[in-house]
């Protein structure tokens, strides 16, 4: 049956283009191309990327288990019909929870040169990753969510792994550390939702670090190439106690070995963590590449935390962008704040020669905050924008803040102070 309308437009394009097209289709549509024509019968079967998301089997029933069965059938059939290497395999389906077929799929993938594996299963029972995962020698990217991971003792690491992302994964701290240290090419590491973890990271090629969870202690032992860090530290009573008792200088321990840092983001209790031990040591390190600093939930009542910010700023001669967010807690201490702190000679007079953008949010108009703003305005000759977003809880101080700001001396003639209020 030759179509009289004209020659076939697409079937004879090179396989690389067909693959490029099929890979950008949802997996259901890609599989359906098998009934288009005889040439298309098995074109889908050799695509190297298989992504099964929530749309691959639409939820046709309210019973999760029934939908799960059909998802499992679909994936198993697709794998069975597939020919050739599979470089990327992703399951991001909330209907799918721990089920035995997943073991078989991972075994199958380990025999098919899998390079990128992403498993984001649904809420529910955590799936225990089978040992066949550790035979995937060519793995370059691994992303696991809501799983249980238990590397065997004999595991030598993933020699090609560049990116590791573990989210809500049950794994022992030793196993995490050894996993990280045994992946020599690791460039990007992301660990989130971990409980009570004391972590020492040793990864000579690491460039991007993202941590979120209840971390007791983080030590960057061997990470000279780190370029971007983002840490969100949650607090528990346990950790608070640990902080009280700690005698280390966390600033040094954490930021002591990252001379190439370009961006630092710290959330929740990160600044508090860094503040421990900070006044004890004079810091020699300069961060010449650091251009962006973002510190959130900073407690301006704690002069040590302010010291963290100041030390960071003065060690970064090329800083361009600064975001500071205060904590939305109304200060408990009613007595006069120690404004002498700002007069002390320990604060250098160095100018922030490259600082262009400053954004301050959750500002309550407290004395220390105002001193900080004054400090910035005095020392930033090329400042273009200083935006202030006041804290919504206490509007009374806003007027006071504005009055003080108007009084401030400014080093930058072009600088705009923008007060944003709803």
């Amino acid at each position: 049956m030759v179509d009289v309308m004209g020659p076939d437009l697409i079937s004879d394009l090179p396989q690389s283009i067909i693959e490029s097209i099929l890979v950008q289709l949802p997996i259901r549509d890609a599989v359906r191309t098998s009934i288009l024509s005889s040439k298309w019968r098995y074109k889908w079967a050799s695509i190297t990327q298989l992504v099964f998301d929530d749309k691959c089997v639409p939820p046709f029933s309210n019973d999760r288990e029934v939908v799960e069965r059909s998802v499992v059938k679909f994936i198993t059939r697709a794998l069975f019909l597939h020919q050739g290497p599979i470089h990327k395999f992703q399951i991001s389906n909330s209907m799918l929870q721990s089920c035995p077929e997943i073991d078989q799929w991972i075994l199958f993938l380990s025999r098919n040169d899998i390079k990128v594996l992403v498993m984001e299963l649904g809420e529910g029972e955590f799936f225990r990753i089978p040992s066949s995962l550790f035979n995937c020698r060519k793995l370059t990217r691994l992303e696991l969510s809501r799983c249980e991971l238990d590397p065997p003792h004999s595991f030598k690491g993933f020699v090609c792994l560049r990116s590791l992302n573990l989210h809500q994964v049950l794994i022992s701290p030793d196993a995490v550390e050894s996993l990280i240290s045994r992946c020599p090419l690791l460039e990007s590491l992301s660990l989130s939702y971990f409980d009570n973890l004391a972590l020492t990271i040793s990864a000579p090629n690491l460039k991007y670090l993202y941590l979120e969870g209840e971390f007791k202690d983080i030590c960057l032992e061997d990470t000279p190439l780190l370029v971007e860090i983002s840490i969100a530290m949650y607090m528990t009573d346990d950790i608070a106690e640990h902080f009280e008792q700690s005698s280390n200088c966390n600033f040094l321990k954490f930021l002591g070995g990252v001379p190439n840092l370009e961006k630092l983001v710290g959330l929740i209790y990160f600044t508090k963590y860094l503040s421990i031990g900070i006044d004890s040591v004079h810091l020699p390190i300069m961060y010449h590449n650091l251009e962006t600093i973002e510190l959130y939930q900073v407690n301006f009542e704690d002069t040590k935390e302010i010291l963290v910010i100041l030390r960071m700023i003065t060690s970064s001669p090329n800083l361009k962008e600064l975001h500071i967010s205060g904590s939305s807690n109304i200060p408990i201490a009613a007595d006069a704040p120690d404004l002498d702190f700002w007069e002390k000679g320990c604060l250098s007079d160095s100018a922030l020669n490259k600082l262009k953008t400053v954004k301050l949010s959750e500002m309550g108009g407290w004395p220390h905050e105002i001193e900080f703003i004054k400090y910035l305005l005095c020392r930033s000759p090329v400042l273009e924008t200083l935006s202030i977003i006041p804290c919504v809880f206490d509007m009374g101080n806003n007027l006071k803040m504005l009055i003080e700001l108007v009084k401030c001396r400014r080093a930058s003639s072009r600088g705009e102070v923008i007060f944003i209020h709803e």
Partner: protein, 346 residues
Amino acid sequence: MSEIDMAVIKPEMMKPYIWLETSDGSIQQVEQEIAMYCPLICKEIIQKGMGSSKNCAICLPQRVSPATLSLILDYCRFHQVPGRSNKERKSYDEKFVRMDTKRLCELTSAADSLQLKPLVDLTSRALARIIEGKSPEEIREIFHLPDDLTEEEKLEPLKNTTDDPRIRLLNRLYAKKRKELKERERLKSVEVEEEHIDKRSVDDLLSFINGNEDQKGIKTSKNKKKNRRKKEQHQKNSSLKEASGVNKKEVNGQNIRPPNSEADIIAETSISHTEDVFAHKEFDDGDIDDGIDPALKEKIDREVEDFARRLNSDWPERMQELLSSGQERKTMLFSPNGNSFLRRNA
């Protein structure tokens, strides 16, 4: 290219224009920095020093027609400017791929041959968007695909059977159709099977009549194996001959194990039908070797004589007779049972 040649060519590379030859033979001048955006052209210029004049114009691959070349150059002209924002580029790309499907396919092909990966990704994404969500008929119409899968191939269930109720219904219909097709085939093979069975029994009988001298020479048919198995069982159960006879018959039916269920049932019924000469013959073969029940022996003798008569006549006629008697047997098999076989045979 020697170093001196490269040194001579270098100043010429400063010239803003290069020459390109398209598939139809026409040669045109193009600004160099725009054309260099295509990796293939870039390689030709730098590594081979081509394109500096009309005589050594760069021959573009066959898939690049003049029309597609001008489209590609538009794309390159926009994107090679470094100052554009990502938003601008994206917006340009969206507008750029709005063209008819035929041109889009040609453009993809040409971009691929020039190794211009960003454009290949862009056009294949556009093609994917065209395919997404459409029915097979619509897709075939858009791309002029021939509808050349056989009925059988189309009957393979689509992988997303469980969700779309229309497709579920379709697959149920297809499954029914497939079943019917398979049954039709099974029936054909059933008839063949029966002839086989008949044939084998003839061989058995021949060997029996000839005094088992050819037993080794005869192919081990299924029935032969069955006979041997029967012998073993008969030895085990020699005390309960009558009872075991019945058992064996049933076991017999199971031991035949023809490739499909209908023949299975046929075989079973043939065995269980005690009046059936054919079944008895096989059964008797094993019996005779091991010491036989005298009551049955008479029956056997009678039947052997009958058969010997037949064998004395001509072979083809014999075959015909046998086959026709086989047919009779078949109908004999079917009518007492009166089940769906009649329907299927019809």
